[in-house]
């Protein structure tokens, strides 16, 4: 594998999305080629950097209240539908 071949499949290699033989060729290439090794490391760092810039936020408190109301609404619907002879939706259990 040369540098051009490595560049072409680097993304798949880093994502773990290449066949075993390609993976092995990539691994042996970067052991010998410092430039491609650095390129691969920079690529990984870019992805890590991107992840760091996207920290998790806490969902708004209103979500829990909404869920309670949603379940209560389901229960109301179920009572009405059961009276009409329809199958239970399961909210009241």
């Amino acid at each position: 594998m040369n540098c051009k071949d490595f560049t072409a499949c680097m993304e798949g290699f880093i994502d773990g999305d290449v066949e075993k033989d390609i993976k092995e060729k990539c691994e042996s290439h970067i052991k010998e080629c410092r430039s491609c090794m650095e390129k691969a490391m920079n690529f990984e760092k870019c992805i890590e950097f991107f992840k760091c810039c996207m920290p998790d936020a806490k969902p708004p408190e209103g979500m829990k209240g909404w869920m309670s109301r949603f379940m209560a609404q389901c229960c109301e619907n179920e009572k009405t539908e059961t009276k009409e002879g329809k199958t239970s939706t399961g909210c009241c259990n």
Partner: protein
């Protein structure tokens, strides 16, 4: 007579067992739903928030996701991982919303990005003061990606799904996932290299700051 009583008993038992199973199924549905909500509320909210970059939209669309989850819970086989199914619903809800509200990006189909960022020889700098600003910056850049590309890069690089898992979530081919991921990353690199000065701190972690504008 005895035979009729026996048949009656058997029918009663069958009916009893049937009702019992029905009740369990129904009870399981509520339990499964609440358990999914507990485990995935934050994950789905964050995915949608990253897609929309708007808290109110994220809250409303997360609720829509869970309404669809409740209505379609029977589709989820017990024992199978719920994550791909939930993210499929979440992606659909987001993309439907973008289409409804015409939040479409005006970007042309993405071209290949500039590879130079990977080759750059970047000086080591220890200052971390810009990290919060940097995060804001990146969020803005993410929003410049077309929604379907944004969905792929978020599902892959942030949520950690494989390309083969993303393809059925978005109803696109595996090759389409790979192309979109490659182009979305390329586009981000291009914006970064154009708008930002990319640096490494002492630990070798990458960070950036806006390039100074010259008049």
């Amino acid at each position: 007579m005895l035979c009729q009583i026996k048949i009656g008993c058997i029918l009663f038992k069958i009916k009893f067992v049937y009702i019992g199973k029905g009740t369990n199924k129904v009870k399981n549905k509520k339990e499964r739903f609440l358990s999914l909500f507990k485990e995935y509320e934050s994950k789905i909210y964050n995915f949608i928030y990253r897609m929309t970059q708007n808290e109110a939209d994220a809250q409303e669309l997360t609720q829509e996701v869970f309404i669809r989850v409740w209505n379609g819970l029977d589709e989820l086989r017990s024992g199978s991982s719920p994550a791909p199914w939930l993210y499929r619903i979440a992606s659909n809800v987001c993309l439907d919303s973008f289409r409804r509200n015409k939040h479409t990006s005006k970007d042309k189909p993405l071209e290949m990005g500039d590879e130079s960022l990977y080759d750059a020889k970047i000086p080591l700098i220890e200052d971390e003061i810009y990290k919060a600003k940097m995060a804001e910056c990146i969020k803005g850049y993410i929003m410049t990606l077309p929604e379907d590309y944004r969905a792929v890069i978020l599902l892959h690089d942030i949520e950690g799904f494989k390309n083969s898992e993303i393809a059925p979530m978005l109803d696109i081919s595996l090759d389409a996932v790979k192309i979109r991921l490659h182009r979305a990353r390329g586009k981000l690199r291009e914006i970064l290299s154009k708008e930002c000065q990319v640096l490494y701190d002492k630990k070798g972690e990458i960070y950036c700051e806006p390039k100074k504008k010259t008049n």
